[in-house]
């Protein structure tokens, strides 16, 4: 495998990992409003992701950093092209991040309500908008011969991208509910499992329509028909299994299945894009690919060595932190936030 391909793969892994990990903590953030009866339960919910959300968000930061280093043209075109969308995502992430920390440290009901709202909005907006960004990315945006993206409103906000946004948001919510039932006891555990089971069929419809819509408006299936069909079939299996495990109350497996759905969604997207990183609607000659958008071979090599040395440690201590906090969170715990 060439280094360009390796870095495309790594960035795909980082984004997919981000949606897998921060996906469930976005979901928990959204679910706070749906599940909790009182402040204590809200605190339990937030505590299920307390030790993790911060590091989960770093997956996004690392994905962006890796794009900058390995594919500076991709980073430049995409980040300036989606200027307003990224501004809104950043504002949402800022509000959400400080909300977790500030919520428990001020005084009064209004204070708490404000931060609860920030957690809700901050957990809902990023997956919605990222869904829209990636949908418009695979559908194509106007990119000219200078690699400048000049997207109008409808290039980013359209039926397809909105549908994709809702689908990604729904996936995160479902994933978050499964995480909650895996990490809590009693009423919260029960309620989240029941809600997840109810939402699952709706999510199946969302995903099915998205697949069909993708088939019609993008060239992903034309290019990678076999692989994407396999992904869709695996997705169907994941849905069936998720339903089965939810009914049986096997929460770990159910969580694994919603995780698999997220992985399949984003992996399919990157497979369909390959070897392009951004699709131009003006002329396919202006597509950004993992060759014309890349850094020099020397830089890719240096980055590869650094990543090969560091990644095993990063993955090991992150896994360890999940192991340390593998016990369920109860209302009797010493709660933060």
């Amino acid at each position: 495998m060439e280094l360009n391909e390796l870095w495309f793969l790594l960035i795909a892994v980082l984004f997919t990992g981000f949606f897998f990990l921060e996906g469930f903590d976005f979901g928990v953030g959204m679910a706070t409003r749906l599940l909790s009866r009182n402040d204590l339960q809200t605190r339990v919910l937030i505590n299920t992701i307390g030790p993790f959300w911060d590091a989960n968000e770093v997956w996004l930061i690392t994905a962006a950093g890796a794009m900058f280093a390995a594919f500076p043209e991709w980073y430049s075109t995409m980040f300036s092209g989606y200027y307003l969308v990224l501004t809104l995502i950043l504002l949402a992430l800022i509000g959400r991040g400080v909300a977790f920390e500030f919520r428990g440290k001020g005084k009064g009901e209004a204070w708490k309500k404000t931060w609860d709202a920030a957690i809700l909005i901050g957990s809902f907006v990023p997956p919605m908008l990222f869904g829209m960004v990636f949908a418009s990315l695979v559908k194509g945006v106007p990119i000219d011969q200078n690699m400048e993206m000049t997207a109008g409103f409808s290039d980013i906000v359209n039926g397809y991208s909105l549908w994709a946004g809702v689908t990604v948001t729904g996936l995160c919510l479902l994933h978050g509910l499964n995480f909650i039932s895996l990490r809590t006891v009693g009423e919260l555990r029960e309620k989240s499992r029941v809600l997840a089971a109810k939402l699952l069929p709706m999510q199946a419809v969302l995903m099915a329509v998205l697949v069909g819509w993708t088939f019609m408006v993008t060239d992903l299936f034309e290019r990678q028909g076999v692989l994407l069909t396999v992904a869709v079939l695996l997705g169907v299996i994941a849905f069936v299994l998720a339903r089965h495990y939810l009914r049986q109350g096997r929460e770990g497996w159910a969580f694994g299945m919603t995780g698999a759905m997220i992985l399949l969604t984003f992996v399919s997207m990157f497979i369909g894009l390959f070897p392009r990183v951004m699709v131009s609607t003006i002329d396919s000659a202006f597509d950004l690919t993992l060759y014309n958008a890349a850094s020099s071979p020397y830089t890719l090599k240096a980055m590869t060595i650094v990543a090969a040395v560091l990644l095993p440690f990063v993955l090991a201590y992150q896994a360890w932190s999940y192991f340390v906090f593998h016990k369920r969170v109860t209302e009797k715990d010493h709660l933060e936030y």
Partner: protein
């Protein structure tokens, strides 16, 4: 305002705000790590209480530091895409390594530290805070490696119309970085130390939790003294290096239009007229600039007009003189702030040594409270001098600011983000100050978690827990 001015303004505002929070995180995590080390070594619960109390400030601040940091990383692509295209090959690498090596470390281990008090052994828990501290410092190293490249590009070649990396290690051994990194990191450590010392002084003035805050003050003042002396030392080195590598910045920060006499006097005060390119009234100390620049009683320092002529020959026609007033005064503010910090730290350390903290000198303690602001003023002034003094370049000698901006974004979009970010950052700053004051007021007994205390009073089992774990 055009897109370049708007982008610059946004970058300036978001960066200066971000650099209010970052030094607190770097400084406080080191202090908390020291406190928890003393707890583990001396087995005295007072130090555990200290780690938890000052840790609360760290956490409040950490959250703000992180969320404002994401903006910094995204902003290069959003507002400065032509810059990112031109230098991404070199500049992106330290940024990616910063995330991979530092951000993951900080964020994972701060989570383990906060939630791990009763799940990890003492030693492992202590290791967590040290890893957080190391993470914050590593983060500074890599972002400053990127910044140093902008001040002094090294290890690259111009290929395919962009700067491409040819020597990775040159980035890390960049002379600029070797001064900028220790100077900045010690400034950050001093920021945390003055914060702890200042809050302790405030509590000592009110005679609350005297033992606790005397001990906190002592630790903080030692750190403050060491770090503020180190700042001056490395700052001096950096200034000397500047004359050699970015003489225009040095000349501007000295308000030096014409090449100085030999020996060169140091200008304390000057009324600067950038239109006429001369100074009106000046106060000068003879010999001092030669001493500062060359550690010698002789030697002249090149002035801006001469350098301008030289740069025009090298880089073509254009104005290469940065905003002189801003550079001149930010330099002086930084030096004055740093000097005041050294004096405060010296006297504070003297008091601590003579065991005079229990009956504090009221005037001095009030100065220490006010002194909390000194590092922030000096930090901001230092960055303004460094970055404004680099104008008109984004990457010195390679890329000008007006060629760095994103061509595809609209002024409307940047106005929107500028207003939105400025508003939200201002709100964050106010909230941070409010929460700091609130936690400080409550003192160490309450752990910063009012609700937790309420619950523990309701539940007898939790009270047992809280006694056992000192929560």
């Amino acid at each position: 305002m055009d897109i370049v001015d708007l982008g610059r303004l946004q970058f300036a505002i978001t960066t200066i705000f971000h650099f209010v929070f970052v030094p607190i995180s770097i400084g406080l995590s080191l202090l908390v790590a020291i406190m928890e080390t003393m707890y583990v070594v001396k087995k005295n619960d007072l130090y555990k209480k200290m780690a938890k109390f000052w840790g609360t400030f760290l956490l409040i601040n950490f959250a703000v530091g992180i969320v404002t940091g994401i903006m910094q990383e995204f902003q290069f692509g959003m507002n400065w895409s032509d810059f990112s295209r031109f230098v991404g090959d070199v500049f992106g690498t330290p940024l990616a390594i910063e995330a991979l090596l530092a951000f993951f470390l900080e964020s994972t281990f701060i989570g383990l530290w906060v939630f791990g008090w009763d799940r990890l052994s003492k030693g492992v828990h202590l290791a967590c805070i040290w890893l957080v501290s190391i993470g914050t410092i590593l983060s500074a190293l890599w972002i400053l490696a990127a910044n140093s490249f902008m001040q002094q590009p090294v290890g690259f070649a111009i290929n395919n119309g962009r700067a491409e990396m040819v020597d990775f290690f040159a980035l890390l051994t960049n002379g600029q970085l070797l001064y900028e990194f220790p100077h900045t990191v010690f400034a950050a450590i001093a920021t945390g130390a003055f914060l702890v010392a200042g809050i302790s002084a405030w509590k000592l003035l009110k005679k609350q939790d005297v033992t606790f805050f005397v001990q906190s003050f002592k630790i903080a003042i030692v750190v403050a003294l060491i770090s503020s002396l180190a700042i001056a030392q490395f700052g001096h080195g950096q200034a000397q290096y500047l004359v050699a590598t970015q003489p225009m910045k040095m000349a501007a920060s000295e308000g030096l239009w014409k090449t100085s006499a030999d020996p060169a006097p140091w200008t304390v005060f000057a009324t600067i007229d950038p239109e006429k390119q001369e100074n009106g009234f000046e106060i000068k100390i003879p010999y001092l600039l030669s001493v500062l620049t060359y550690n010698s009683l002789s030697g002249s320092v090149p002035g801006m007009l001469e350098l301008q002529a030289e740069y025009e020959k090298t880089y073509g026609p254009g104005n290469y003189i940065p905003p002189v007033r801003t550079t001149f005064w930010s330099f002086r503010i930084m030096v004055a702030g740093g000097s005041a910090m050294i004096l405060l730290a010296l006297y504070g350390a003297y008091l601590a040594l003579r065991k005079k903290l229990e009956q504090p000198n009221k005037r001095f303690m009030q100065l220490m409270v006010a002194g909390i602001s000194l590092p922030f003023i000096a930090n901001s002034a230092g960055w303004i001098m460094t970055e404004v003094g680099r104008q008109p370049w984004t990457v010195f000698g390679l890329l000008r600011v007006e060629d760095s901006v994103s061509p595809s974004i609209s002024t409307g979009a940047v106005w929107f983000s500028l207003i939105a970010f400025t508003t939200i950052y201002l709100i964050l700053l106010c909230l941070l100050a409010y929460l700091f004051a609130r936690v400080a007021k409550k003192g160490p007994e309450l752990d910063g978690h009012e609700e937790v205390e309420d619950l523990q009073l309701q539940d007898p089992f939790d009270r047992v827990r809280s006694e056992r774990y000192g929560a």
